[in-house]
């Protein structure tokens, strides 16, 4: 064992660090490429159109639920009992007959 063997070892260690540096550069390069891809995808018009199309479908489903709710409400309103309609028309008749004329 001698000093020269230490120098050889030192060189190997430097290469090892150099490898790590290269690997680090590779990691950064990949990250930048991925970031670019993410940004490109975000600004992709087709993708945006697709998202809006999906959202429109969701809204259409929501709109159908709303209309259905009102339709059910209308059906419920229509189910007023016959006697109530008669009672209501009797009230009109009574109000008209009892109405006192006022000249305006």
């Amino acid at each position: 064992m001698s000093l020269s063997s230490l120098l050889v070892e030192e060189k190997k260690a430097m290469l090892f660090v150099e490898e790590a540096r290269k690997k680090a550069e590779e990691i950064l390069k990949e990250a930048k490429a991925e970031a670019e891809r993410i940004l490109k995808e975000a600004s992709n018009e087709e993708k945006i159109k697709e998202i809006l199309k999906q959202y429109e479908k969701e809204l259409q489903r929501e709109a159908e639920r709303i209309i259905e709710k009102y339709r059910k409400e209308a059906e419920r309103v229509k189910s007023v009992p016959e006697e109530l309609l008669e009672k209501a028309s009797d009230i009109i008749v009574k109000e008209v007959i009892d109405h006192k004329f006022r000249s305006s």
Binding site: M1, S2, L3, S5, L6, E9, A13, F16, V17, E19, A20, R21, K23, A24, E25, I27, L28, A31, K32, E34, A35, I38, L39, E41, A42, I48, I51, L52, Y55, E56, L59, Q60, E62, A63, E64, I66, I67, K69, Y70, R71, E73, A74, R76, V77, S79, V80, L85, A88, S89, D90, I91, I92, V93, E95, V96, I97, H99, F101, R102, S103
Partner: protein, 209 residues
């Protein structure tokens, strides 16, 4: 200069320890930086999409959901209107039959009396009374018993469900006191009353279900 083999080994260890530490530091920093780059890109992309999509989504929501709400409400209002109109139609049919009842004569006299008195009549005043053909003879017969003043009446044929239209002789004032005019003047109030009666009860009924 000679170094013992133990010392050489120790130095080698030290060289590799430092090299590993340096390499780890480089890699860890790179990984952190890569994470930061990706995080920023994702945030930027999200912002971009949000700024681009949100306004369009909002417009779309207002258009589609707004229309659905409007259509739904219209449907409900039309249904309620149909029912109210049905009630009014029934009432009109009953009012048409009212003239066949015993109370109708009293009602007709009251209509004439109210309309003439609203003119503040004095002795000698003359009025033109429009009355349905079917009521003409009855009213001619009754008119003498109705007023304290000495009034003159000219009867003309009209066409109403019942009641009278009275006009002064100069044609300056004309009072409609027919079933139709009463119904029309009461219609807005009656619509409200009927609506609250029909739909309040229905709503309460619905809540119980």
């Amino acid at each position: 200069m000679t170094i013992s083999s133990e010392a050489v080994e120790a130095l080698k260890e030290e060289i590799w320890k430092r090299a590993r530490e340096k390499a780890d530091k480089i890699l860890n920093e790179a990984r952190s930086e890569a994470e930061r780059i990706l995080r920023n890109a994702k945030a930027e992309a999200e912002n971009f999409v949000k700024n681009k999509l949100e306004p369009e989504k909002l417009i779309m929501r207002r258009r589609i959901i707004g229309k659905a709400m409007m259509d739904g409400r219209r449907l409900l209002i039309l249904t309620k209107n149909d029912l109210i109109n049905e009630v009014f139609s029934r009432a009109v049919e009953k009012l048409k039959r009212f003239r066949e009842s015993e109370e109708y004569e009293k009602f007709l006299v009251k209509c004439l009396k109210e309309a003439v008195e609203a003119m503040n009549p004095s002795d000698g005043d003359e009025f033109i009374v429009y009355v349905d053909k079917r009521d003409l003879e009855l009213l001619k017969k009754k008119v003498g018993e109705i007023f304290k003043h000495d009034l003159k009446f000219k009867f003309k044929e009209g066409s109403f469900m019942g009641g009278v239209v009275v006009m002064d002789s100069e044609g300056k004032r004309i009072f409609y006191n027919t079933i139709e005019s009463k119904l029309e003047s009461l219609r807005p109030l009656l619509r409200e009353k009927i609506a609250s009666m029909l739909f309040r009860e229905v709503e309460m009924d619905g809540k119980d279900r």
